[in-house]
Every structure is written in C-alpha cells, then in structure tokens.
C-alpha cells in the first residue's frame, strides 16, 4: 500500500460509502484525488456548470442550494456531493457554496463510474434516496441473519469430563453429583492435532465420545454389563459436535438431523459444554409467544403488572435477533391486546356478564400493529344500539375503569388526551359512533381532525368485532368522496415536519437552527403515519397497519410509480432507528423514550436517517398538491 496517500485513504475509509470499499479500490481512489481549497463564502459549484468529478469534503462545511437559491442541504466532513449531476447529464443542478473554509477532494468521473460498477454498496449509496435507503434496510436484515444468537449463549456450566478408564459406576455417580445428564469421555491425545486440546495443567487430550443418561439404560443395564466396566469400552466413534459460535438454529437442526438430544459444544477443539434439546426449548419460551400465554394465565391485575419487565425483555430480544419493525410492532401490539383481553375477562368475572353487547376498540399504534415499548393507551367502547345509559352505563363505566387502570399498571400510561373508554364521550352505542364519524368527515374542524387522526386507526381488541368493522367500512366508503376532508387532513398532517438533516452532533432545522436531540416519533414516524393514513383514506383502504395501507395505495394511481417503495423504506428506517434507540435505553437502564441524540447514531445510519427525513419532507410537499382544497369550500367557511 502507498504510505504517501495514507493520509487521504484513511480519512475516506472512515466515511460511507468509501468505508465498504476494499483496500485496493480505496487506494486507487485516494491516488486519483485532486485537492482544492475554498475560502468561506466562495462558490464551489455554480448552477448548470459542467461537472465531471465527485466532491468529497475533507474539512469544512458546504451549503447546497436549490435552483431557486433556497437552502437544500448542509454537508460536513466526510460527506459527498455532485453525484446526482454525474449520474445524469453532468450539469450542476444544485449549486454549492463553501460555508466554512473548506478543503475538497475531487474524485474524477472515470474513477467514480468504476466504483459504481465495481461495488454494489457504493452504487446504492450514491443513487438517490430510495436505493440507498432500501439498501440500508436490506443490509440490516442481512446482517442480522448472521448475528443470530450463538450456541455459547445457552451454555450455563462446564461439561462433566471423564477419562476413558473411569468405571461406569463412578461415571454415573459423577454425572449425578453434577446434576448433569451426560458426560464427555476423554483419552490422552493420539497426537492428531485436529482433535487435540490442552487442559489447564498442560496435558493433551482428545474427545472420544459422550455418555448420556439413556446409555446407562440401553448399553449398560440392558446389556448386563458389570459396574466396573470402563466407560471407554462403551463409546464408539467420535461424537457429533458443534462450534460455540454456531447459531442456536444450527444446533437445533443438527440435533434433529442426527436424532440426538445431547450436543457437545467446542471452542475450537476444547469442549466448553453440552447442549441438551431442552436448553433450546427453554430458550425459545422466552419469546413473545410464551409471554402471551403467560398473560392469559394470570388471575389478577397485580400478576399482569408483574409481567411488564418481560414485555421489555421480549422486545429487546426480538430486536437483537434481527426482527424488522413490522415483526416488532405486531408482536408488541399482540401483547398489548392480550393485556386488554385478559383485563376484560377479569373485569367480567368480577362484574358479571355485560347487560348488552359491546366491543372494546383500540386506537393508535395498537390498532395499527405498530406498538413499541414507549406507548400510552388509546381506547374506546362501542356499545350495542340496545344500550340505555341509565340502566347500563354504570356497568360499562366500571368495566372501562378497571381496564384502563389495569393497563396503566401494566405499563400502558393513561392517555393525556383522555382518549379512553373511561371518557363518557368515547363510551357510546354504535349509532352514535357512526354519527360522530359522519360529522368528522363531512364537516371537519380542527378538533374533529384531531379526533379523525386518532380514531381512524381502529381495531377491535375484544367483544363484537362486527361493530368496529362497520365503522371501518363507513370510513373507507365516505372518506374518498370528501375531498374537503382529505384536504383538511392533508394540511393537518403538515404540522409536524422532519428536520433538514442530521449531523454528527446536532440536528439541523429548516430555519438553520441546531438542536442536539430529536424526537424521532414526533418528527419522523408520526408524520409518516399521518401521511400514509391520508393516502389510505383517499383510496378507500380499510387496512390499519401503515405497510398494509401502502400495499393498498400501491394498487391505485395515487402515487407516482416507486413512490410507495420510497415511503416503505423510509418508514422502516425511521421505525427501526426509534426501536433500536429504545433497546439501547433499556440495555443501559435508562427509561426508554423517543429522543435520539445524533452522537449516539452510527455514521452510516445518520446518512440514511437524513435520506429518510428527505423522503418524508418531499412526500409532505406532495400531499398539499395531491389533496388541494376544493374551490367551493372556501365559501362555506
């Protein structure tokens, strides 16, 4: 390697997309760089000038502007620009100005094109938003397939190891004393280095076999062997083993394939444990599935509340094992619904059967199957139209109180906006709900729009599912026919805007202000959910989950081709950044929240986050044009 350009390649090697290049390619790039200095305030690229180089910021800061002169982006050390011009017609579309004294590395076009060709990651990165985001999401999924739990995590104690000369009686005694179900049989090494390991006293051993509980029955007692038979005589060929860094999944397959219940685990050649099939089963029971069954076996609110830490543990484990946001969201929503159901069952046991039919409706993230661990409750009661307030409401008020209190005890905080079944306004017969929804759609007011954005994510958690289905159908039928409602919802959805960019230490706002943290829900996932909901309402979808809504939207002409995918990837990325941040908080014993600090975000993730915010920002702008205020409506106001 060229030491003389080390300075340059080391710097570039720290930043995406150069960080994934192999050394030879990186050397080539560094060796072809052209350097230039720009004093603060000077033009780097002028609009429409010809460009045949990729620009890399070695130090300083650069402002990218739109054709109109409006601020488009601000870039810092390690960022690149000019790639869009190179990929299109070699004309500068976004002029660049040095914001600080800046040292740039220019990478010639032929090198740039070669990189795009030679390295898939590089090509993905430099292409506009979607492929880069898509690449990030898929990269994460791929990486996690490999980071699945390793076998060594399941080992809790050292194996019982016996010399081949040990008698079967001594062996049985030692296995029992260790409360184990198998022992590994060792012999002095035969010199073959492939099987030899050295113990702490520097003796060389080889693993000859395994003796399990069932061997005592089938090979010793059934065969009538005397208790002083050396164990070495019982064992045949070398046992099947697994390396400690293999996955749990691989260990399970290995046991099934070979029809064995015990699997010696080796670190290189040294035995470090024996895995039993039951270890794997025990491990699997820590899953969310097990948690759900545990919820239904609880007989009191106190018992349910004690499961709250398990919810967090299951959440952390899912994320660590590489679940995507849909898997996490739907698992946690299922857990949440299970709490609701069990609380209702317990309440009905205490209060007696309900006087009229009802449906317990959940709203917000639980209805969308997008719950995380930082969540409050949004719910309501839809009662049968036979409901008579004076005769029946005392029962349902009490029922609601028990469920909402119980949810709060289990970690689902009370809703600050009083969107709970305890609120009489949200504890009404189906016909009243239908009237509510009609009014909200036909004559939207700021308050009604707020209600729409909460209640139009709706699902039944318990009781008469048909009630909620009727309401879902009603929305799907009426919303597309009310352009004024859609326009009002669209404008409402623009209240929460994403930041312009995410830098190493701060978040850059549209007005140029810097913040050192950002609420990823308020500025990212929530506006994205709002935006997707409006398109879903416009196309008459009755799906609740944002990704399912996007599937429905894709079947229409509402969005330009490919726009749905952009939103899908941006949504996934924003959700995962939020989820991973909460996992980090839990692991570091902080109260999980939605505030992320850019310093705690990985370099590459920061770039992707910026892209996702840009997708969101563009999509918000499109919303205004897609759902304009109909001409006659201004007269009515």
């Amino acid at each position: 390697m060229d030491t003389e350009i080390l300075e340059i390649r080391q710097h570039m090697g720290r930043f995406p997309p150069f960080d994934v290049l192999d050394d030879a390619l990186l050397d080539e790039v560094a060796g072809r760089v052209e350097v230039s200095y720009f004093q603060a305030g000077t033009d780097i690229l002028r609009l429409d000038q010809e460009l045949h180089e990729l620009c890399y910021i070695r130090s300083g800061a650069v402002e990218i502007r739109r054709r109109t002169g409006e601020l488009y982006n601000r870039l810092g050390e390690g960022d690149i620009f000019g790639q869009f011009s190179l990929l299109r017609n070699n004309r500068v579309r976004f002029p660049a100005i040095a914001l600080e004294d800046t040292l740039l590395y220019f990478i010639p076009e032929d090198v740039f094109l070669r990189l795009c060709e030679a390295d898939e990651h590089f090509a993905d990165f430099v292409e506009l938003e979607r492929p880069r985001l898509e690449a990030a999401v898929e990269e994460h999924r791929k990486a996690n397939d490999m980071i699945i739990t390793r076998v060594r995590k399941l080992l809790t104690r050292y194996p019982v190891m016996l010399e081949a000369s040990t008698t079967v009686q001594q062996a049985a005694r030692q296995i029992s004393e260790a409360q184990a179900t198998a022992a590994l049989i060792l012999d002095a090494s035969d010199g073959d280095p492939r099987h030899t390991f050295i113990d702490s006293e520097k003796r060389a051993w080889r693993l000859r076999g395994i003796l399990t509980d069932s061997d005592f029955r089938t090979r010793i007692v059934a065969e009538g062997l005397p208790p002083d038979t050396p164990v070495g005589e019982l064992i045949g060929k070398r046992p099947i083993t697994i390396q400690s860094d293999e996955s749990v999944h691989e260990a399970m397959l290995c046991m099934l394939r070979n029809n064995i219940h015990h699997l010696p685990v080796l670190y290189r050649r040294r035995p470090v444990g024996v895995l039993h099939l039951s270890d794997i089963i025990r491990y699997e029971t820590h899953s969310s599935l097990y948690l759900v069954s545990n919820i239904f076996s609880q007989s009191s609110v106190e018992g349910l509340a004690r499961l709250a830490p398990d919810v967090r543990a299951a959440f952390v484990r899912m994320v660590e094992e590489g679940a995507n946001s849909q898997m996490v969201g739907s698992a946690l929503s299922t857990v949440g619904r299970s709490f609701v159901r069990r609380l209702l069952e317990l309440a009905e046991e205490a209060l007696g059967p309900p006087p009229v039919g009802y449906c317990f409706m959940v709203n917000g993230s639980m209805a969308r199957n997008e719950q995380t661990v930082v969540t409050d409750q949004d719910n309501a009661l839809i009662l049968s139209d036979d409901f008579e307030p004076t005769r029946h409401d005392a029962y349902f008020a009490e029922l609601a109180q028990r469920v909402c209190d119980g949810l709060d005890a289990c970690g689902y905080a009370y809703c600050k906006g009083e969107v709970m079944a305890t609120n009489p306004r949200w504890r009404q017969p189906l016909s009243v709900w239908k009237r509510y929804f009609d009014e909200w759609i036909e004559t939207p007011t700021p308050e009604r729009l707020l209600h729409s954005s909460i209640f139009f994510d709706l699902d039944s958690a318990y009781g008469e599912e048909a009630y909620v289905e009727q309401l879902q159908d009603q929305i799907a039928r009426k919303a597309p026919q009310n352009p004024r409602f859609l326009a009002a919802m669209a404008r409402n959805a623009l209240n929460r805007k994403p930041p312009l960019g995410v830098f190493r230490t701060f978040v850059m706002e549209k007005d140029g202000k810097h913040n050192n943290s950002i609420n990823i829900k308020r500025r990212g996932t929530a506006p994205m959910v709002d935006l997707i909901r409006i398109h879903a309402l416009a196309c008459g979808s009755s799906a609740q989950n944002s990704f399912e809504r996007l599937d429905d939207i894709d079947r229409t002409q509402l969005l330009a081709p490919g726009a749905g995918d952009k939103l899908r990837y941006a949504m996934e990325l924003l959700s995962m950044v939020r989820i991973r941040h909460q996992v980090y908080d839990i692991q570091h014993e902080h109260t999980p929240d939605n505030n992320i600090e850019p310093e705690n975000v990985a370099d590459s993730e920061r770039h992707h986050l910026k892209d996702a915010f840009q997708v969101l920002s563009h999509a918000q702008k499109f919303l205004k044009y897609r759902y304009p205020i109909p001409p006659h409506s201004s007269r009515e106001r």
Binding site: T3, I5, E7, I8, V35, Q39, A40, D101
Partner: protein, 241 residues
C-alpha cells in the same frame, strides 16, 4: 524597510536572467535542460502559473553535516492539486542516518539501504520541477540542500526561484505593524510552522515529516493563503524569492 523591499523586488525580477545565463554556461546536459525550461515570466498571474510543491526530509538542519533522505513533489495549480502526478523518492543519504531521524521520517534502515543515490533519480526530479514555479515551506532547507546535493554530483549547483509559504506567513505575522505591536508587548510571536499555519486557514492536521505529505500540505497552504490574502492576478514575482 522601503529600500529592503525595493531591492527584494529588483532581485526577484532577476531570476529569469539568472536561469538563462546558467542555461548557456552549464556543462551538464541535465542542468542545461532544466535551466532552459526556465520559470514562469515574472508578470504571470499566480492563478495561471504552473506550480510544484516540493519537500525534502533531511537527516538534520546543517547542510554541511546532514543529507537528504527523501523527496516529495506534487505539480499543481491554484485550482487543483492532482495526486495522480505525485512523486516520492527515498534516497540513500551520503551521511549516516541517526536513529532519531529514522523515527521522525517514518523511513526504515532497510528502505534507506535499498534506496538509490540521488544521482540516479536526479533526471526525474529535475524533469518534475522544470518549467514550474517551486513552492516550499521554509526555503532555507530546500534551496541549500538541493544546491549542495546537485553540486556534489554534477560539479555545479542549482538554484531557482521559490515561493516560500513560510515567508508569506511571516509577512503577515512577523513583519506587520500588528506583529511588531505584539512583540513590543512581549507576546509570543505567532507560530509560522507548517501545521500551525495550516490551522489558521481551517486546513486539517496531517501527520507531518513525510516528504510527500508535507509537499501536499504546502500546496494546500498556498491555495489557502492566496484565497485569503491575495488575488489570483497577483504577479508571481511579488511572491517568489
């Protein structure tokens, strides 16, 4: 002060004449080619001048006792420093290499032992410098060391105009009224070493004491100095010495 400036300017204008004269007088065909290529005309705007940044690493500071270990050079202009054209040579010093300078220059004994004598790379070195205006940081190393090394091999030395980025810094920080005021107030003088000078222009820190890295660092410094304090139309004779 005024007379000093005038004389410096007059001297500065004499460089082309000097180079022409050497071209006719020299006995060495190598030096003949080099001197005949000359340097940019004194009135050439700096923004249009072909430049080459040069740095020598030596075993010490005394031209009588120490020798050249490595040479880095990058042809450039104020617009661009193309790294593809970089040159770096390690040469076998005529005088022994001390352990200290080994660690300082990040060059090993084996590298030095395998290295050629400067005579072998001299044609290439002179070709890299020919016709370009040489840019260094502190000319009192590069000029005498190169002159002496060439004299030892070809029997005659070689001197040529240089832009010294350290003197450009000194003009601002050592000779200005403000600098004199600082001195009068017994404030320590502003450092004009390469890394400190670079920092004043927001240029990144490089690992110094590698001839090529220092040559690159010097080229970047000149770009920054001209951007901040001079115009691209500034005639080169105002800058060289």
């Amino acid at each position: 002060m005024l007379s000093h400036r005038l004389s410096r300017r007059a001297e500065a204008r004499e460089w082309p004449t000097y180079l022409e004269q050497r071209a006719t007088e020299t006995q060495s065909p190598l030096l003949q080619r080099f001197f005949a290529a000359g340097c940019p005309a004194p009135d050439t705007p700096i923004g249009e001048a072909p430049l080459v940044a040069l740095d020598l690493e030596t075993t010490g500071l005394d031209v009588q006792r120490h020798a050249i270990v490595s040479i880095g050079a990058v042809p450039f202009t104020l617009a661009r420093i193309p790294l593809a054209r970089r040159r770096h040579w390690i040469v076998r010093p005529t005088r022994p290499l001390s352990g200290q300078s080994i660690t300082l220059h990040r060059i090993t004994h084996t590298e030095v032992e395998a290295a050629p004598d400067l005579a072998e790379i001299l044609p290439e070195l002179l070709k890299t410098l020919a016709g370009r205006l040489v840019v260094v940081h502190y000319r009192h190393i590069e000029r005498p060391f190169l002159d002496a090394a060439i004299r030892a091999r070809l029997g005659e030395g070689a001197r040529f105009p240089m832009i010294d980025t350290m003197s450009l810094e000194a003009r601002r920080h050592r000779l200005s009224p403000w600098a004199r005021l600082r001195r009068w107030m017994r404030r320590p003088p502003v450092s004009i070493r390469l890394p400190d000078s670079r920092r004043r222009y927001g240029l990144p820190d490089y690992h110094g004491h590698h001839a090529l890295v220092d040559a690159l660092a010097t080229a970047e410094l000149l770009q920054a100095q001209i951007a901040h304090h001079y115009r691209l139309s500034m005639p080169v004779h105002e800058l060289w010495s």
